[in-house]
Amino acid sequence: MRSLREYVRSFLLVELLQGLRVTGRHLFKRSVTLEFPEEVAPKSPRFRGLHALRRYPNGEERCIACKLCEAVCPALAITIDSHQRADGTRRTTRYEIDLFKCIYCGFCEESCPVDSIVETRIDWHLMESRDQRIIGKERLLEIGDQYEAQIAADRAADAPYR
């Protein structure tokens, strides 16, 4: 049975007024919304966004076509073909990532013995048709060249914890 006190409370709408007070207070609080294109939320150096292939400082591409990333990829998003270059080193002829299959788990980056394939902070990429979902070696190297400074800084920031 409800006690008399609760009965009176329900008629005085006490709990409703308490609820109204909470929302009323929040009306005057600062809103937490970010105005997206102008304001961007800060990202961690560990952020896993769009992929990139890095180069050594002398311009030589790092990837040695060991295919560890292809093997470890849980979504089978990476396809690699390799050949032997004139100087006897092994390089990729094809390095493709299907962005629709990729789950951005970062295993490729973990498995890479030469720190070639990395995931950058770029989270705002888009495509206009389905065939643009596969990005090839040239594009990956391009992204790597463009963001090399940030990529290197992010790796350096995370290095003490590895």
Partner: protein, 206 residues
């Protein structure tokens, strides 16, 4: 002007009333009945009985017909079975219709009832007929009024008792009980001492 308005609404009223009994779809019939009520209300307002007119809208259009539509919408009535008993009920229907026409004729044509003379009776000079109806209702006709009220109350109680049946074995929510639930009687916060970790699988895996 007033005559034109009268004939307009009277024509719509007659049209709607005809459609009520001729249209196949019961929901449409009910909606035409709503239209008929509404036009009747307008006619009443036109002769100065604004209280009756608006009360007709509030009671019949606003409440009764809504419940009516409610029921009709829930039923799946097809047109064919509705026409089944048409021939059988025709004589009774005609009898009722003739009777009603006769009654109306007697009322309209008799000399005792002063309806003949104008299309629309002159509205009372004092337009506030709500006050007038109230005064008459609570002085001259107070007993019939109260008795009618009691009869309606009895009818309400009877209708509720008819539908009120408690079946055994059904589960119901007790809303009172649900509403009176609070944190104190649903949630118990236990204070526990921290226990040392026991040796075993879980500990090793750490």
């Amino acid at each position: 002007m007033e005559q034109a308005v009268f004939y307009l609404f009277a024509a719509i009223l007659l049209f709607a009333a005809t459609m009520v009994i001729t249209v196949r779809n019961p929901v449409q019939a009910a909606l035409f009945l709503v239209l008929a009520f509404f036009n009747a209300a307008v006619l009443w307002v036109l002769v100065g009985a604004e209280f009756l007119g608006i009360a007709l809208v509030v009671v019949y259009v606003g409440a009764v017909m809504v419940l009516f539509l409610f029921v009709v919408m829930m039923l799946d009535i097809t047109a064919a079975p509705m026409r089944e008993g048409f021939a059988r009920y025709l004589p009774v229907g005609i009898l009722v219709a003739v009777l009603m026409v006769l009654q109306l004729g007697v009322v309209i044509l008799s000399d005792d009832v002063a309806l003949v003379g104008g299309l629309i009776p002159e509205p009372a000079a004092d337009a506030d007929n709500i006050r007038a109806i109230g005064t008459v209702l609570y002085t001259v006709y107070v007993y019939p009024f109260e008795i009618a009220a009691v009869i309606l109350l009895v009818a309400i109680v009877a209708a509720i008792t008819l539908t009120l049946r408690r079946r055994q074995g059904t589960k119901h929510q007790n809303i009172e009980e649900q509403l009176s639930a609070n944190k104190a009687n649903r949630l118990r916060v236990l204070k526990m001492e921290a226990e040392p970790r026991q040796g075993g699988e879980g500990a090793e895996r750490q």
